[in-house]
């Protein structure tokens, strides 16, 4: 910028004015400065500008796993809103590791992001996040609520969605409905199980813990646990799968067994409609989660100091065939 000023024979500040276009500069000088900028290929150094102004025009996003379709769709929506607000997006995956998540928060925070959208990993130290809020970094939690931190949240109606799936199976005449969810320590898995239990209770059906399996859908031994659930004396005639990983696994296992049990999955997935039979699901809208979280964040950055918002998005039942099979 100094070089530009010299070449155009004006002061540093005049160049700054031309570059920013905020204050007025005489036409003659503006032309000279612009010519000099072109000649030198000058580009404003954002870092220096940000250091001075105390803003980075960057927001952070910490999710479980960027390669997971749910999170990559959410991230894409956040990115779109950030782009519309002329902000860049720093993305990181915590990989379900609370220590790594804490490290990422500190790392992003040190880079001076203006705001942070985060899916908190189970077991994170809430103080790390609370420190952000105090440091003036706006915080929005997605998919899971904040633990001991007062901040905006955007969640999905896990209980209601699961209950709707269970009611659909009940309406189809099923009475022995199993719930197969992810590890019990996960917030979303807990909520969905509660929704399942509530729907059964409302229908006056007694709870049977032999019909509930909570396990990591990626672990090999989970497959055997599921088959054991199927093979019990009074087996389920329908299954509610607690996430799309389990839905996929259940489809494969049922196929191997050649059993026509009814199935409703929580969370939609690509090609669910092209399987045989097409898989009925309770669909979340990950793009809407990301979009709303980002819009909430930018409204905070714009100065909205209203009360904390806790947005809950609905989940929609999509009947496709697998959930409409009659009980044996």
């Amino acid at each position: 910028m100094n070089d530009v000023a010299k070449l155009a024979d004006v002061s540093l500040k005049t160049v700054s004015r031309v570059v920013n276009g905020t204050e007025s500069v005489s036409a003659a000088k503006a032309v000279r400065v612009e010519a000099a900028i072109r000649e030198l290929g000058f580009r404003r150094n954002e870092q220096a500008r940000q250091l001075r102004q105390g803003t980075t025009a960057t927001i952070g996003l910490i999710i479980e796993d960027l390669a997971d379709p749910f999170y990559s769709t959410l991230a894409r929506a956040v990115e779109e809103v950030a782009h519309a607000h002329h902000h860049a997006l720093l993305v990181s995956s915590s990989a379900e590791d609370p220590r790594r998540a804490e490290e990422l928060v500190r790392s992003l925070s040190g880079r001076g992001i203006d705001g942070l959208i985060i899916t908190p990993a189970e077991g994170m130290d809430p103080r790390v996040l609370a420190a952000e809020g105090e440091a003036g970094c706006s915080l929005v939690f997605v998919d899971r609520p904040s633990v001991d931190v007062d901040a905006d949240t955007v969640l999905v109606d896990n209980r209601g969605g699961t209950a709707a799936g269970v009611r659909h199976l009940l309406a189809g005449g099923h009475r022995r409905i199993a719930f197969v969810g992810d590890t019990a320590s996960l917030y979303t898995a807990q909520e969905r199980r509660i929704g399942y239990l509530e729907a059964l209770e409302t229908a006056g059906i007694e709870r049977d813990d032999n019909l509930v399996l909570m396990a990591n859908p990626a672990a090999p031994e989970s497959g055997e646990a599921f088959l054991a659930l199927l093979d019990q004396a009074d087996p389920p005639t329908a299954i509610l799968a607690g996430n799309n990983r389990w839905s996929v696994r259940v489809v494969r296992l049922l196929r191997q067994r050649g059993i026509g049990v009814a199935l409703v999955g929580f969370d939609d997935f690509e090609l669910a409609d092209a399987l045989e039979p097409p898989v009925s699901v309770v669909a979340q809208d990950p793009a809407a989660v990301g979009r709303l979280a980002a819009e909430l964040l930018f409204s905070r950055l714009a100065g909205d100091t209203g009360p904390r918002q806790h947005i809950q998005l609905g989940a929609t039942l999509i009947p496709r065939g697998s959930g409409e099979r009659a009980p044996r």
Copy 2:
């Protein structure tokens, strides 16, 4: 940092030394400084540090669409390598828009990223990218080659992979093999078509342009174009789908028609093995593309000034059933 220095009654520079841990400081002072840091909740401002050092410990990634499984898997791999090198990752989607891609490059570049991994959008002004190289920002192209820019590249063997898929169909006795690829302006679509044509030529089969369709798999009218291809007088007995979007669409359309044409898809996709019949594919390894590109970038950042590297990754045929159907 000034406050810490005052509280610990040492100089600014001593605090800096303690924070960075590089130079040696007497134990007594170090303890005092550390106590002061804790008391004040001091955290080093990365921005200021970076401004001074001229490095940001941040790399950029510009891809077509973060929500696309191919790119999100690639991005996840890049992120992992960046994390191992203590770098953050700025991610942006160009959405196939060359103007937006140029804007993103300038935006990321202004933020002073140390390096950039990019899938160039068709129609981008090469000067925008060339400017980065000159500005000292290392550049690696992925999935598509650089256009008029001398930089490292990591590509997939699109021609060889497609040719392998075609040879597999030929070995199964097919002679009328169609190629259904994405818009002809896309680099990867062009390459895969060339691989298809080369494999046919090697086998001594005459080229028939009625068996080639190049169109956007997401456009409604593409479905009709595909059905027209199937309905011609001398129809194909096998199809090579040029990307996973087309594979999925072909599966659905064939299903509607109830036709048992053989199918091999380029690029693997989730649940390809759970469809009826399971879809044979020529699989790319998006994670490997991302990992190698990031490793290449960091070796450049570490000072490797060797000749430009042009890495080409293979694509592997995975027979699953749909590609093994005999010709009618």
